[in-house]
């Protein structure tokens, strides 16, 4: 009896250990590069190239940050990147929500929606890069100082992600709730805004975050479309190309800040603790 109990307890213990190990590995996989990035950003470049490599920083310096802030292009690039990310995420989430709602409520629109969304995902993006650029030139949005053209492209890129994220949320809302609201006297518009939207809030916030990060990080189209009015990823790219490892690391570190801020700001909405319980 006791030995049985003991061995199962041991098993539990080793299982917990294994779980911890896996968690530690995953966290390390994400944390170590981050740490190295921070170290490179905060130490003289010589330390980054020291051999054998040194794990702990020796001299700390803010010189790389100073040099990044000294770049005249930085301010406009930050504003442009942020504007593009916010606008594209908002557009993608709004349109994705509409598409997702239609997909969740209609059989035909569901199959059409899935076909469109997965089709868009299967398409190699580089194949449409040049046509897109041509189209933006025609619209007068190519390399626009506001980044409007890039925002449009990013919104289109992010739309499938937004739609799929929102779809599962809308599909989980029982249709009876809509029928009940309709019988209570709500117009279809009101049903959507009063019944469906509040319940999908968490998923829409998640979709917004994903779209925001997608745009904030996007490099290929940004490089192609914003050739002179750059956003942050191409700026970072040019730093790296020209071997400025220190300032590049500092800029990369700085780029993480808005993403973290957006995630933290939307966290209360993400945890949908109020959901459930409407149906028995």
């Amino acid at each position: 009896m006791t030995s049985n109990y003991g061995s199962s307890g041991l098993e539990r213990g080793s299982l917990a250990l294994a779980r911890l190990g896996v968690c530690a590995l995953v966290i390390a996989g994400a944390a170590i590069p981050l740490y190295l990035l921070a170290k490179q950003a905060l130490t003289p470049e010589l330390e980054s190239f020291a051999w054998p490599p040194r794990w702990l920083p020796h001299d700390l310096t803010l010189a790389h940050f100073t040099s990044v802030f000294a770049v005249s292009e930085l301010r406009s690039a930050v504003i442009r990147s942020f504007a593009v990310a916010i606008v594209s995420a908002a557009v993608a989430t709004a349109m994705g929500a509409m598409l997702a709602y239609a997909m969740a409520r209609g059989r035909t629109s569901r199959s059409l929606g899935f076909a469109a969304v997965s089709g868009a995902r299967l398409l190699p993006m580089i194949a449409v890069a040049i046509p897109l650029a041509v189209w933006l030139v025609a619209l007068g949005l190519y390399d626009s100082p506001s980044g409007a053209g890039l925002a449009l492209v990013h919104a289109a890129l992010a739309l499938p992600t937004a739609a799929l994220t929102a779809y599962s949320a809308f599909a989980a809302i029982p249709f009876e709730l809509e029928e009940a609201a309709w019988l209570d006297g709500a117009s279809p518009m009101r049903v959507f805004f009063s019944i469906d939207l509040p319940q999908a809030r968490g998923a829409l916030a998640a979709a917004f975050i994903l779209c925001f990060i997608l745009s904030w990080d996007e490099f290929g189209f940004a490089l192609l479309i914003q050739v002179s009015n750059r956003t942050l990823p191409p700026l970072l790219y040019y730093y790296t190309v020209f071997g400025n490892v220190g300032p590049a690391s500092a800029l990369a570190l700085l780029m993480m800040v808005p993403a973290v801020v957006v995630v933290v700001a939307l966290r209360p909405v993400l945890s949908g603790s109020l959901l459930g319980g409407g149906l028995r």
Binding site: E176, W182, D184
Partner: protein, 350 residues
């Protein structure tokens, strides 16, 4: 006065099911129960009345005027699973129909309080549905249906998702509720105990048709069709086919001879029925005797429900004492307790 009148309603579904050519009137203040097995079309009929479905043909007229409210009628509905809005508190749920009508805030508060009270809600209305018990959710749903004072309240199996004890308690409360609010209620259920307990009149449905409409007593005592006879009553009525005897005015079934008067309008074959509760175990003048062999019995609390066999016919009878398996007995039925149905149409014969 008729509160609502459905005429020749038909709604078929591609997947099968639906209702065919149903006509039904419900009087003002009446508690009408639609009773039937699952798939009989009772929920479809309710949804047609609600306006959630459109009929293929036929009309529904309301005494409270035509469709107002953007196509909607002055009706409220309580759903089987309550359909409470999970992101709103109990108060907001009940107030939702009033908010949509731009009712002033103080009036909303007064009417929500009144509706909650009538529905027997004794909880903090600031709580969310997820924080409420099944019975409390049920009451919130009732209060929400009641708050805008509809002419008709529709209920789709509102008790079926509750556990048995709560169901019994809420059934009594529903009846009290109906007495207080004096609304017309159309109530769907497959539970005949619920139907008998609540209904002023019952519409028994089968295969998309109404078999019979009547008071619970009428339905039980004079079932209009063989289906109603077999569906209503617990334990169910014994039903078997019998042929008209060649020479005499009597009926013969396999193993049973019924010296009963053959009903008028009967064809060569009729369906005969009698309830287990109407079977006597002791002889008396004018009773019909049936020799049976006991096959099995189960204890029901007040006695034993006995399955026995007369020839190839299986009959159920209620005994006070437990019979032995394989025992040969004679059971007796008073001819006045016999029901006759046309075997082809299922219609009652007198």
């Amino acid at each position: 006065m008729a509160e609502l009148a459905a005429r020749n309603l038909t709604r078929r579904f591609a997947s099968g099911g639906g209702i065919s050519d149903i006509s039904l009137t419900v009087a003002t203040g009446e508690f009408m129960v639609l009773l039937g097995p699952s798939g009989c079309g009772k929920s479809t009929l309710l949804r047609l009345i609600a306006g959630l479905e459109q009929p293929d043909s036929g009309t529904i007229e309301f005494a409270s005027g035509g469709p107002g409210d953007g196509g909607r009628r002055a009706i409220a509905m309580v759903f089987q699973n309550f359909a409470l809005y999970p992101h709103m508190t109990a108060f907001e749920n009940i107030a939702f129909p009033l908010r949509l009508r731009r009712t002033p805030r103080d009036e909303i508060e007064a009417r929500v309080a009144l509706a909650a009270d009538t529905a027997g809600l004794k909880i903090e209305l600031r709580r969310y549905p997820a924080e409420l018990s099944g019975g409390e959710r049920q009451r919130v749903a009732l209060a929400r249906a009641l708050v805008r004072e509809p002419a008709v309240i529709l209920m789709d199996e509102p008790l079926s998702s509750l556990d048995a004890r709560l169901r019994g308690a809420l059934r009594l409360e529903l009846k009290e509720f109906q007495r207080k609010v004096r609304r017309t209620i159309v109530y769907v259920t497959h539970d005949q105990a619920e139907a008998f307990g609540l209904a002023d009149r019952i519409a028994v449905m089968c295969d998309g048709r109404i078999e019979q409409v009547g008071s619970p007593e009428e339905i039980y005592q004079r079932p209009a069709t063989a289906f109603v006879a077999g569906f209503v009553g617990s334990p169910p009525m014994n039903l078997f086919r019998a042929r008209r005897a060649a020479e005499k005015e009597s009926l013969i079934a396999d193993g049973i001879s019924l010296p009963a008067p053959v009903p008028r309008g009967a064809g060569d074959e009729v369906t005969v029925g009698f309830r287990p509760i109407d079977i006597a175990v002791a002889d008396a003048p004018n009773l019909i005797a049936i020799a049976v062999e006991v096959e099995d019995s189960e204890f029901t609390g007040s006695g034993f429900l006995v399955r026995c066999r007369a020839g190839s016919i299986v009959l159920h009878a209620l005994f006070e004492e437990k019979p032995a398996r394989g025992e040969r007995r004679t059971i007796f039925v008073d001819p006045v307790h016999l029901h006759f149905f046309d075997s082809a149409s299922g219609r009652r014969l007198e």
